[in-house]
């Protein structure tokens, strides 16, 4: 059933109101398989949500691992300089780290 305009005091003397009244009679029949398409999108949205949630939960670990990698890389540079002293540049940041690291 088309939805009817509920305005009881509709003033059909006005052309604009008449246009509204006629337009409000329109009907719509969804295409075949509408439910399946919606449920499929919900399923896909759910999967994206799960992946998003997993990434969010892993974020602290990712940050922690990144910090560890940066620290390790700094020390790695210093160790290399200690192994090859001839390549040492006394003013480089790596060597300053190496001096403090002992």
């Amino acid at each position: 059933m088309p939805e009817m305009n509920k305005k009881s005091d509709l003033n059909t003397d006005d052309k604009l109101d008449f246009l509204f009244k006629v337009a409000s009679h329109e009907e719509w029949t969804p295409l075949e398989g509408f439910e399946k398409r919606v449920l499929s999108r919900i399923d896909n949205t759910g999967k994206s949500y799960d992946i998003g949630m997993l990434a969010w939960r892993m974020l602290p670990y990712t940050v922690a691992i990144s910090i560890l990698i940066v620290i390790a890389a700094s020390f790695g540079g210093s160790i290399e300089s200690l192994i090859y002293p001839s390549m040492m540049d006394p003013l480089s940041v790596e060597n300053i780290f190496a001096i403090f690291a002992g």
């Binding site: 088309p2 939805e3 009817m4 305009n5 509920k6 305005k7 003033n11 059909t12 003397d13 006005d14 052309k15 604009l16 109101d17 008449f18 246009l19 509204f20 009244k21 006629v22 337009a23 409000s24 009679h25 329109e26 009907e27 719509w28 029949t29 969804p30 295409l31 509408f34 439910e35 398409r37 919606v38 449920l39 999108r41 919900i42 399923d43 949205t45």
Partner: protein, 200 residues
């Protein structure tokens, strides 16, 4: 339209993760949602997308449905806000160019609305053509004005109901509705009733 008689138990099943139960909700309300969203777009693909989006949002938010009011009312509210968001995005993207009314459409208005006082004509006029012309004109309005015209004029909602659905205060709704009507009248080239009478 009344709620599905077993809506409370169906909603409970959906919350527990039963997707088939949500399929029952879609089947019961798809016509209503499709009709509502069809008042905001004249492109069939957009209409289907919008209708799907309403149900997806309803599914995500179903845990918030308290069961105190009608489910249909709750779903309608989601549909209205989905349509408003869509209109705002469309306005920003300007993906669809605002089209002018063609000579044929202006002629249609002149021919079909010339005897607007004749109630017998109402059933003879092509309602989809009327809605198409109206939507074309409404595209020129702001998303908020478009929304208020649909709610008030096509869905017959009162100022109070529109205020409740949109969250805007009643004065704001009244002023917006009046201005939107006047703008639409200008776009369609329909003079107000007073002017029509003066011409006669």
């Amino acid at each position: 339209m009344a709620d599905h008689p077993e809506i409370a138990s169906i909603v409970a099943k959906v919350i527990e993760g039963d997707a088939d139960a949500f399929g029952m909700i879609i089947a019961s309300y798809k016509d209503m949602v499709g009709l509502m969203v069809g008042r905001y777009t004249r492109i069939e693909a957009d209409r289907e997308d919008l209708a799907q989006e309403v149900f997806i949002r309803a599914y995500s938010a179903i845990g918030k449905y308290r069961g105190s009011g009608s489910f249909e009312g709750w779903l309608r509210k989601i549909a209205v806000h989905t349509c408003l968001d869509w209109l705002r995005k469309k306005k920003v993207r300007k993906a669809i160019p605002l089209s002018e009314l063609s000579d044929d459409e202006v002629g249609w208005i002149e021919t079909n609305l010339i005897s607007a006082t004749d109630m017998e004509l109402e059933d003879k006029i092509d309602s989809s053509k009327a809605l198409e012309i109206l939507q074309k004109a409404m595209e020129k309005l702001s998303p908020e004005d478009h929304l208020v015209i649909v709610l008030q004029e096509l869905e017959g909602k009162s100022i109070n109901e529109i205020s409740e659905i949109t969250g805007w205060n009643k004065t704001n709704v009244k002023v917006r509705a009046h201005r939107a009507r006047e703008r639409l009248r200008g776009i369609l080239g329909i003079k107000d009733k007073g002017a029509d009478k003066c011409q006669k």
